[in-house]
Structures are given as C-alpha cells and as structure tokens.
C-alpha cells in the first residue's frame, strides 16, 4: 500500500518546495540581491571577501607595516609585485637596515590570487573593496603602494 503514501509524500514535498519559494517571493523586495549599479554608485558596498586590488594601509602618522622582506614578491606567480629597496641607516639605532623605497604593484598583471597577502608576515598589504578599476591608459595600472615619505611603523619588526 505504498501507493497512497507515495502520493501523500509527493504532495507534502511539493508543498514544502512551494513554501520555500513563496517565502522568497514575499521577501524579494527587501532581500533582492540585484544591484542597480550605476544608480547606487555612492551607496554600493562590496562584500568583505571581494578582491578589488592590493593596497597597503597607512595610519595617521603616514606609517605602514611593510618591512621590505620581499616575501610577497616571491609569492607572486606572475611578477605583479616589485619592491625597490636599499639599506639605510636607522635613525634610532644607528645601524644599517633594509627599508623599502617603492612597493610597486602592477594591477594590470594581477590575477587576484591573494598569495601575496597570505605570504605577508606583517599584514602590510590587504584587499581593497573598490571595483571601478578601469583606466584609459595602462600605465595608470602600475601603482606605488607606499605613500611618499612614509616609513615603517615602529614595533612591527619585533
């Protein structure tokens, strides 16, 4: 006599499915995932795990956390990161020390694989959530991540 129980279960499961989509239908105005993009340009926030471009955050004293260890440069599979560094005398200790001059990032070559960010031991670089990355000239895609005159945040190397 599984015939009638089959029918009962079929109807029940169909109704379950319909209740799920029915809930979606009722909530679609508020919960719609569609973004009406150019209209909401000012308010549109990308979600946290979105990979826009690599940036180096600086604090209010124009200090970053990059020690110039070049691990990101080594980790990058297609050479999107170049670090220009030299040895300078540290004013505090008076010793010679490796310091970055320019952290160069080629956005045009980057595949957003996130290996550099995982490799960074001091969390100096991270993903930005901006998404309007197109430019009219590809030279604009080569970016210097550390701001001019910035220096290493004290205490990062300890």
């Amino acid at each position: 006599m599984s015939y009638f129980s089959d029918i009962y279960n079929a109807v029940k499961s169909l109704l379950t499915g319909m209740s799920v989509t029915g809930k979606y239908f009722l909530h679609s105005r508020k919960g719609a995932i569609t973004q009406q993009y150019p209209d909401n340009r000012d308010t549109l926030k990308m979600f946290e795990r979105f990979r826009g471009e690599v940036v180096m955050p600086h604090d209010e004293n124009n200090e970053h956390r990059c020690t110039g260890c070049q691990k990101c440069e080594l980790a990058c599979p297609n050479g999107s990161i170049e670090i220009i560094w030299d040895r300078q005398i540290d004013p505090e200790t008076g010793k010679k020390k490796k310091m970055i001059d320019q952290h160069i990032y080629h956005l045009g070559m980057c595949t957003m694989c996130s290996l550099c960010i995982e490799a960074c031991p001091t969390d100096a670089i991270k993903w930005a959530q901006n998404f309007e990355n197109s430019v009219y000239d590809r030279t604009y895609l080569t970016r210097v991540l550390n701001k001019p005159g910035s220096k290493l945040m004290p205490g990062v190397e300890d």
Binding site: S28, T34, Q36
Partner: protein
C-alpha cells in the same frame, strides 16, 4: 452592453443581413486579437517579473514605469528581425506551423464568459470544444519539429506529442467530473449552476481533487516547467522552435502564454464561478464580472508560475508514470466518487 448593441443595430441598418453579420464577426475577431496580443505581452512581462521575485532578483524594470513597456519593445525587436529558414526545411509546413499554434490558442479564447454579456461564442458543447481545440495546438508543434529538419526539434516535438496525448486524458476527465455535477457542457450553463456556490465549494472533496489534477495536467498541456521537456533548454537547445526566428518565434512564445491564460481561464470558469463575485457582493454591477474573471484567472496563472519556478523538470519516463500510474487512476476514482455524491445529493448548495 449598450455599445455593442448600438454597433450591432447600426451595422444591420447599413447593409444586408449576411454582410452585416460577417462584418460583425470580423470586428469581434479584431477586438479579441488586439486584446489578447496585448494580454499575451503583459503575461510575458508578468512571468519575467514574478520569476525574478521568486529568485530574489528585480526583473525588467527599466523600460517604462516598472518595465511596463519592456515586452512591447521586445515584440518590436522581434518584428524587425529576419525570418530565417534552414535549407532542408519543409518550407510550407515550416511556415504554417506557428499559425496553427497561435490560431488554435486564439480560437479557444472566444468561448470564455468574461461577464454575463461578454462572451463571443456560446455553444452547447463548450468544454468539449475547448479540450479538442487545445489539443489541435499540438499539431502545430509537431509540424514545427518535423519540418525544421533538425533532430533536436524533432525530439522536442515528439515529446510534445507524447505529453499532450497523455495529459489530455487527465484534463478531459477532471473536467468531466465537474460536468457530472453541472449536467451541461455549455459554459454559460455551468456558470448559471454556480450561482448557488462555486463548484469547488459545491463539489467539495472530489472538486478539490479534480482541481489539483486539472492544474497539474493543465500545466503539462501548456508545455511549461516542470513539464517543459518539449523545450528543455539544457538538452534540446530550444526544442521544437530551435530553428524559428523573429515573428514566427514570437508566435510560439505568445501562444505558450495565451495557452497558460486559457488553462487558467477554464479552471476559473469551471471551478471558481467565472465572473461571479465571491458571496455575490457585486452582483448588482454586471461590468465588474470582467474584473472578477480576470482576477481569478491571474491568481491561477500566478499559481502556475509558482510551479514553474519551484519544481525541477521531469524526465520523460517520470512524466508518463505520473500520468498513467497516478493521475489517471485517481481521476477515475474521483469520477466515481463524484457520481456517487451527485446521486446521493451530498453536494453543498447555498
């Protein structure tokens, strides 16, 4: 309706009786064509918006207010497109097929009692006519698939044949169950019976079972998801209309939506009292009948859209199992139950 009466008298005073009646028929046909071309377009829009809402999207809302002109623009685009034909296609049948589909869909529309006066064609075998007309439409689909000379089209068309032949049975039987109660095939007569309670209330249990079966089989008749293995985008390209382009494709597309309207309108007429208002609240204003009819039909159309955007597509063997092992035996049992009920006078009447 006073306007129609005036036009009728004016026409008959202007010319001899035979010509006048022909002119009148042509006028009515044009009115119906216009109404349902527009209605079909807006059903397409409704489907797209409802589909979007079911999937937490917004749907087309840019062309006109809330996208109201979207399908008009689409239709204009389709009219302006080239009509392509494959080299080895059977040209005559290939060109004939879309008209078969659309004409049968439009023919069925003439029978519905939109209000007490607004019914173009009230014959005494109404339901029988409707079911037979709706099964002629499948010939158009078969012709389209056959004449395209494309294996996917042919498979789609053959599936359509199998599907329609099977599910026609359930549609017919579930309507027959109701005919047992009303005692008439004429649509106006059926509405007359429902003045003492809609049939779904009068016939209670068997009527509800018949309604469920009718909606399942009716969805299958229109070749919509979850029974859309005629088109089956993922396996057959677009099924029987793979080779069609431009306006001929639009005819198939429009016919699908008008067929959906027809299925919902039959259900409205048979089960939900056509133009009768709930509890007779607006019986004094006959013009509101059109509103009630369309409101009920739209609710049923929404139900079919709900099916479409919820259930996965059936396989061909599952489709046949559903019909022959479940719907048909249930339907026959239901018919006997209904006959017993009518015999014992167990129907509810107000």
């Amino acid at each position: 309706m006073n306007i129609t009466k005036n036009i009728h008298e004016w026409l008959f005073s202007l010319m001899p009786e035979a010509t006048a009646s022909i002119v009148e028929m042509v006028l009515i046909a044009i009115v119906y064509l216009l109404i349902f071309a527009v209605a079909g377009l807006y059903l397409v829009l409704l489907e797209r918006r409802v589909a979007a809402w079911f999937q937490l999207r917004l749907g087309p809302n840019r062309v006109g207010y809330q996208g109201l002109l979207q399908t008009m623009a689409d239709a204009l685009k389709l009219v302006s497109k080239e009509l392509t034909v494959t080299i080895k296609a059977d040209k005559f049948l290939y060109n004939l097929a879309p008209y078969f589909v659309i004409v049968t869909a439009l023919m069925a529309l003439s029978l519905f009692p939109f209000s007490k006066e607004f019914q173009a064609f009230d014959i005494n075998i109404g339901i029988f006519f409707l079911t037979s007309i709706s099964s002629i439409g499948v010939i158009g689909i078969l012709l389209a698939g056959w004449s395209s000379n494309n294996k996917f089209s042919l498979i789609g068309a053959m599936r359509s044949g199998v599907q329609t032949i099977s599910y026609e049975l359930s549609v017919g039987l579930s309507l027959l169950t109701m005919v047992v109660m009303t005692g008439s095939l004429q649509l106006s007569q059926i509405v007359e019976v429902q003045k003492s309670g809609w049939i779904i209330i009068q016939g209670h249990i068997p009527a509800i079972i018949a309604f469920c079966i009718y909606m399942i089989a009716g969805t299958a008749e229109t070749n919509r998801a979850p029974f859309d293995l005629v088109e089956a985008e993922s396996e057959l390209g677009a099924g029987f209309h793979t080779e069609y382009s431009g306006m001929k494709f639009a005819y198939f597309f429009l016919a699908e939506f008008i067929n959906m309207f027809i299925i919902a309108a039959i259900a409205t007429t048979i089960f939900f009292g056509a133009y009768l208002s709930p509890f007779g609240i607006t019986e004094s204003i006959p013009l509101l009948g059109v509103f009630w009819f369309l409101a009920k039909t739209l609710v049923l159309i929404f139900l079919m859209m709900w099916f479409r955007w919820t259930f996965p597509r059936l396989r061909i063997d599952q489709l046949l199992v559903l019909e022959w092992k479940y719907l048909l035996p249930l339907n026959l049992m239901n018919l006997v139950l209904m006959a017993l009920m009518v015999l014992l006078g167990l129907t509810i009447k107000f």
